[in-house]
């Protein structure tokens, strides 16, 4: 299983805070996961997730570029942070 989280503006734009997905037998990488979400959920998701500055994290660590995923991973999509 994969847990996918969305925060802040991204959460609002998608109207979705968290998803759980079955782990596919053929495996999946981060770009593949994003493409799968866009394909299944339509143009709105494709536009939102393709925004400039979208940050992606795997298991609570920000990653740049693509990354292999493993069953049980927690993936998050969020805008640049503005804390403090």
């Amino acid at each position: 299983m994969l847990k996918v989280l969305f925060f802040a503006r991204v959460r609002e734009q998608l109207g979705c805070a968290a998803l759980e997905l079955q782990w596919p037998e053929h495996g999946l990488d981060l770009d593949g996961l994003q493409e799968q979400l866009c394909r299944e959920r339509g143009a709105r998701w494709r536009a939102v997730l393709a925004q400039d500055n979208m940050v992606r994290a795997v298991n609570q660590t920000v990653v740049s570029g693509n990354r292999a995923l493993h069953n049980g991973d927690e993936i998050a999509f969020f805008p640049p942070v503005t804390g403090g």
């Binding site: 994290a57 998050a76 969020f78 805008p79 942070v81």
Partner: protein, 164 residues
């Protein structure tokens, strides 16, 4: 240190809705031990206005788990770069009014230059790496606060080749 050993710095990170008491935090910073040398602190307050808008309320969202973890990593990196006795970070989440305390960072060291640099380093990275997002309500309209380019630039200063 008289025995020549650098003690393991005490790192504490709290993410909470409740307000905090800065005097209590500063005394907790060393876990009851007496201070020596220097303590540098940073307290951030909710702005009252942003450009031309008067702010009515600020709402802070975060990524539970990742927040504590990323702040702890930032503090540990500070402790690798400078000889610290302790670092303590409190960050509030939820709904806050203008003027309220939002973040407190305290750093204790025997050396003032280490205390200053580490405190500023932690704040700079907190702004760019800790997953907090601010949503302002001003004149009845909500909007998400954009990340400032200057925050990334300030964090980048600390990278190899930057200032020490």
């Amino acid at each position: 240190m008289i025995d020549g050993k650098r003690p393991e710095p005490v790192i504490t990170v709290k993410v909470q809705e409740a307000d905090f008491d800065i005097a209590q935090l500063q005394s907790k910073l060393l876990g009851g031990a007496c201070a020596e040398g220097a303590i540098t602190t940073f307290t951030g307050y909710v702005r009252r206005d942003n450009e031309d808008r008067r702010i009515d309320q600020l709402a802070l969202e975060h990524y539970p788990g990742m927040t504590e973890r990323s702040i702890t990593e930032i503090a540990e990196q500070a402790a690798e770069r400078w000889p610290l006795l302790a670092a303590y970070v409190v960050h509030r989440i939820g709904k806050l009014a203008p003027g309220e305390q939002i973040v407190w960072v305290g750093v204790a060291s025997k050396h003032r230059e280490a205390a200053f640099s580490a405190c500023e380093f932690i704040m700079d990275y907190l702004k760019t790496r800790a997953p907090f997002w601010k949503k302002e309500t001003a004149s009845g309209t909500e909007h998400w606060v954009s990340a400032r380019g200057t925050d990334s630039e300030r964090a980048a200063r600390w990278q190899d080749g930057g200032i020490e």
